[in-house]
Amino acid sequence: MVNAVNGVSFEIEAGETVALIGESGSGKSTIARLALRLYELNQGTVEFDGRDLTKLDREELRHLRSAMTIVFQEPYESLNPRQRIGRTIEEPLVIHHPDMSAADRHARVIDTLNHVALGENFYDRFPHELSGGQQQRVGIARAIVTRPKFIVLDEPTSSLDLSVRAQILQLLNDLQDEFNLAYLFISHDIHTVEYVSDRICVMYLGQIVEVGPTAEVFANPQHPYTQALLSSSLSADPRVKKDRFLLGGEIPSATNLPPGCFLHGRCPIGDDACAAAHVPLHAFKGTHEVACVKVPFAGGGS
């Protein structure tokens, strides 16, 4: 049994971007799909707009899916190669708004194409005719065509070239402002996450090890794993010398989790006390929380 996600809780407000950052096996992609109930939860709830997704039947859930959508990492893989772009973007409307006329749908698709800075002449093209950046715009168009409130973005720019990433991040930013969208942004890239998110959850082996306002967490990382993650980032400015890197060893398997703290064994400051029991998140400062016994609780003491 793979213990992918192990007791994760967080909230996202309208218009806010919460980022999940972590490496392989952190559970971030699984959470992305759990948040939309694309996977079934073994335990726990997912509330969207006050309604618990886990308690809805298929019909009710499907209806909600027009309000919560997803953009995938691999733009080409996420598009039907045999379907024209216009039809791909139109599909969510066909499913969720059967009352809309074909003419209205067409108009909405054109409007959406304009919103993602692709012109009307993309309507009849096929995915293979588009560049990676354009394909991702189509993925985004499909995710906003039903005017959702919440979008899960699973590594939306990781497969794109650097010069294209900036365009896509800018687009996502503009769309968020215009439609007051909530974003759950999954990434492994520290620079991107620091730029786009309001709050950040750092994940390791299916648990949140640190969470808080992005600027605060990046300025003042408390968990040894967060510190290691941030120190692994390499600046393109050669005058900024890379930090001494802090973490040895390999990421353990999610089928064989160590008892107690999951980082024990790789952690530069861990000791036997850490192996004893599971460590919950506790407040460090305001809404900045950490799951580490070595980090003092808010207000002093530990």
Binding site: L162, H188, Y195, S232, S235, K242, L247
Partner: protein
């Protein structure tokens, strides 16, 4: 320390590599020239389709039909590699120049034990006995930071994690002490914490043994932190080259500048690059970057800017007299 005085270890002159496809002739590499000195770590950067991987493979003699090197010299330790027979080139690979590919899984044979894969490489170039091969392999695995190397040697590729597999592939590439290692995106796809461990280890090994490296990557951070020099490619051409400490701090070519500006930094507006890379089939006249450049002016349209010196050891290809280093002064 980089050896400044002697002849360069690798000298590429006016390399052109093309591919014949159903869409036409793809000009993947269009007349590039560069050098690598002994012990130097050089980063070859650029985005998808810029020609960096094709350049690496051209140097390694790994271009096969429909690809072909149509022009140019590739001088390694003074010998033009293009004059070598396939057999002679094969002898050179692994001993003089070795290759670390992007995907370690593609490079490791899934049905042979790791020790056998080392032995195959060692025996292809030497008469080492089985025991000598074992000893060399073990020592190499320890150098790349693998704990319990005996178990790894006796095992198979599928038993390795991504990071371990990449270390094994590096070890195989280094076991015969090549003077030049060409690595094609060696840590892309690995977790960042693993990537750091591996890069720290590799660079230390290279510097210790004074090996040179050509690191092909799209990751500017890796180049900025680990390489001495950088070569920036765009649409099959070199647009800028020079010491990392200068090029990344004060880029001369508008494309280099745009690439650096596109890295997200909190508190700064995101500067995106408009347009797309030009077609490598319908190759444009003039400067290949002209349609995306904020500084384009008359000569850019019809005249290709040639790589020229900005200062000692810094070159760039732009019609602006000093590139964008002086606010685009013409």
């Amino acid at each position: 320390m980089v050896n400044e005085t002697s002849r360069p270890l690798l000298e590429v002159k006016n390399l052109h590599t093309r591919f014949t496809t159903h869409r036409g002739l793809v000009r993947a590499v269009n007349g590039i020239s560069f050098e690598i000195r002994e012990g130097e770590l050089v980063g070859l950067v650029g985005e998808t389709g810029c020609g960096k991987s094709v350049t690496a493979r051209s140097v390694l003699g790994l271009i096969r039909p429909p690809g072909r090197i149509v022009e140019g010299e590739i001088n390694f330790e003074g010998n033009n590699l293009r004059d070598l027979s396939r057999r002679e080139f094969r002898n050179l690979r692994g001993t003089g120049i070795s290759f670390v590919p992007q995907n370690p899984w593609g490079a490791l044979n899934p049905i042979l034990r790791i020790e056998r894969q080392f032995r195959n490489v060692i025996r292809a170039h030497t008469n080492a006995s089985k025991q000598e091969c074992w000893d060399m392999s073990l020592a190499m695995l320890e150098s790349v930071g693998i704990q319990g190397p005996e178990r790894i040697l006796k095992g198979y590729a599928h038993q390795l994690s991504g990071g371990m597999a990449q270390r094994v592939v590096m070890a195989i590439a280094l076991v015969l002490n090549p003077r030049l290692v060409i690595a094609d995106e060696p840590t892309t796809g690995l977790d960042v914490t693993i990537q750091r461990q591996i890069l720290d280890m590799v660079m230390e090994l290279l510097e210790r043994d004074r090996r040179a490296m050509l690191l092909v990557t799209h990751d500017l951070g890796v180049v900025a932190q680990y390489c001495h020099r950088v070569i920036v490619m765009y649409a099959g051409k070199i647009v800028e080259s020079g010491p990392v400490s200068e090029v990344f701090v004060s880029p001369a070519h508008p494309y280099t500048q745009a690439l650096l500006a596109a890295i997200p930094r909190p508190g700064h507006d995101l500067v995106s690059l408009r347009g797309r890379v030009p077609s490598l089939v319908d190759y444009p006249t003039g400067c290949p970057f002209k349609d995306r450049c904020d500084h384009a002016f008359e000569p850019c349209e019809g005249t290709e800017p040639l790589l020229r010196e900005l200062s000692v050891d810094r070159r760039f290809a732009c019609h602006l007299e000093k590139g964008v280093t002086q606010s685009g002064a013409r």
